[in-house]
């Protein structure tokens, strides 16, 4: 039974991936990619990675899908010169790709037995972090440096996106396409209060159950973008002071707690055992805000000159 489900999931994913890559119609390819992301989310559950499944559903299928559809809508107007690759290149590419896939498959079938694992170390060191979910403990305590750098990558990417704006647009608002459809307005009034609670709960519960700051922040970003789309909220000017503050609040508090670790616990990003959990909550609270705002603005794109907004 469960093997049948796995076979079906794997076959569907490969089919959708093939469609994404080879399908003739661009919009159908993007739709196939979003479905692929959602199936991949189910596969994460099947391989025992619930936290990754939530991230994939939120980011892989959800936000990336929205980003790609928006890009497709803007590119439709430009001439899409599709010059096919020559037959020779296609054959070479197929052979190279097949070679890489076969090599990886061979590696998968000849992995070392027994598999290396950090589970015993993780479980032995879980109690001092004050958390019950070892994935959250990895993100917030043992590998907190990775998580701090990941937030900085988000900020850098947002700066990169802003910096492709023409000079005249600098400091202005990103373009918002508004759709004042009655049903959408209703959804945008009804859903955000629920979504905000779910988003914050997703972060809070990640201490002991699957969830996390990134997954929760994504939900907040989606709620904001929904309200913007319905014309109920505005995107901020990228020069706005409160926006800049919201963006750096998370990484700044993270960095401050990290530096305090030198004094309190002897290492960068080390927490004294007695207050580990409160410190992690202190880091996560502004982090949700920063993640939500930066994700929403990354999807919204660079600012546009005033008249075009």
């Amino acid at each position: 039974m469960s093997l049948g489900l796995d076979l079906l999931l794997a076959a569907l994913m490969l089919g959708l991936a093939g469609w994404t890559v080879l399908g003739r119609d661009m919009f159908a390819a993007i739709a196939a990619f979003i479905a692929y992301g959602l199936l991949l989310g189910i596969v994460w559950v099947r391989v025992g990675a619930l936290d990754v499944a939530l991230t994939e559903a939120a980011v892989g299928g959800g936000v990336t899908g929205g980003l790609l559809i928006a890009a497709w809508a803007r590119l439709r107007a430009t001439a899409m010169v599709e010059r096919k690759a020559g037959a020779g290149l296609a054959v070479l590419a197929a052979l190279a790709s097949l070679g890489v896939a076969v090599l990886l498959a061979a590696v998968v079938l000849h992995l070392p037995q027994p598999a290396p694992t950090l589970v015993p170390e993780a479980m032995a060191n879980l109690a001092p972090t004050g958390l019950g979910n070892p994935v959250s403990a990895t993100l917030m305590a043992w590998r907190a440096l990775d998580t701090l750098l990941e937030k900085l990558v988000l900020l850098l990417a947002l700066l990169g996106i802003w910096s492709v704006a023409p000079d005249a647009a600098w400091g202005a608002r990103p373009a918002a396409s508004v759709d004042r459809d009655g049903a959408l307005t209703f959804l945008a009034q009804f859903l955000p209060p629920v979504g905000v609670v779910v988003g914050i709960y997703t972060v809070w519960t990640s201490a002991d159950a699957p969830g996390g700051a990134f997954q929760g922040g994504t939900i907040l970003a989606a709620m904001w973008l929904l309200a913007v789309r319905a014309g109920l909220a505005d995107l901020p000017r990228v020069a706005s002071r409160w926006l800049r503050l919201a963006l750096v609040a998370g990484p700044a508090v993270f960095l401050a707690v990290g530096l305090a670790g030198f004094v309190l616990a002897g290492h960068f990003l080390a927490y004294p055992e007695a207050v580990a959990k409160p410190l992690i909550v202190l880091i996560e609270a502004p982090m949700i805000l920063s993640i939500g705002v930066s994700l929403a603005l990354m999807v919204a794109g660079p600012p546009v000159p005033k008249g075009d907004a």
């Binding site: 490969l14 661009m26 390819a29 980011v59 430009t78 599709e82 598999a115 043992w142």
Partner: protein
């Protein structure tokens, strides 16, 4: 057993994504293909985490946490690539990489 199956699936996804990345001329298609390729790499890593299951845990939490970080960075790269592409299209009126 199912871990092996998804490992093979991940290997195939890498192959499919790589093929699309080379062959498809349209930049947005290349971004899609790159994300398929990335999905395959992530799935392989997830299978390695699954093989590390021990005690009461269904998988090794350390590679799982690294996967979450990886997904976030991959989204950031995709968003930046899309912004560059849209700017290129707005500037040249065309969405293509060669300059003929």
């Amino acid at each position: 057993m199912s871990a092996d199956l998804y490992g093979l699936c991940g290997a195939a996804l890498v192959g499919i994504g790589l093929y699309g990345l080379i062959v498809q001329p349209h930049p947005l298609r290349k971004i899609l293909a790159f994300n398929i390729l990335g999905g395959g790499v992530f799935l392989l890593f997830g299978v390695f985490a699954r093989r590390g299951a021990a005690l009461s845990l269904p998988g090794d939490p350390v590679p799982q946490a690294l996967l979450i970080t990886g997904l976030v960075v991959s989204f950031a790269a995709t968003a930046l690539a899309v912004a560059l592409l849209l700017r290129l299209a707005a500037e040249t009126g065309r969405a293509r990489l060669d300059d003929e």
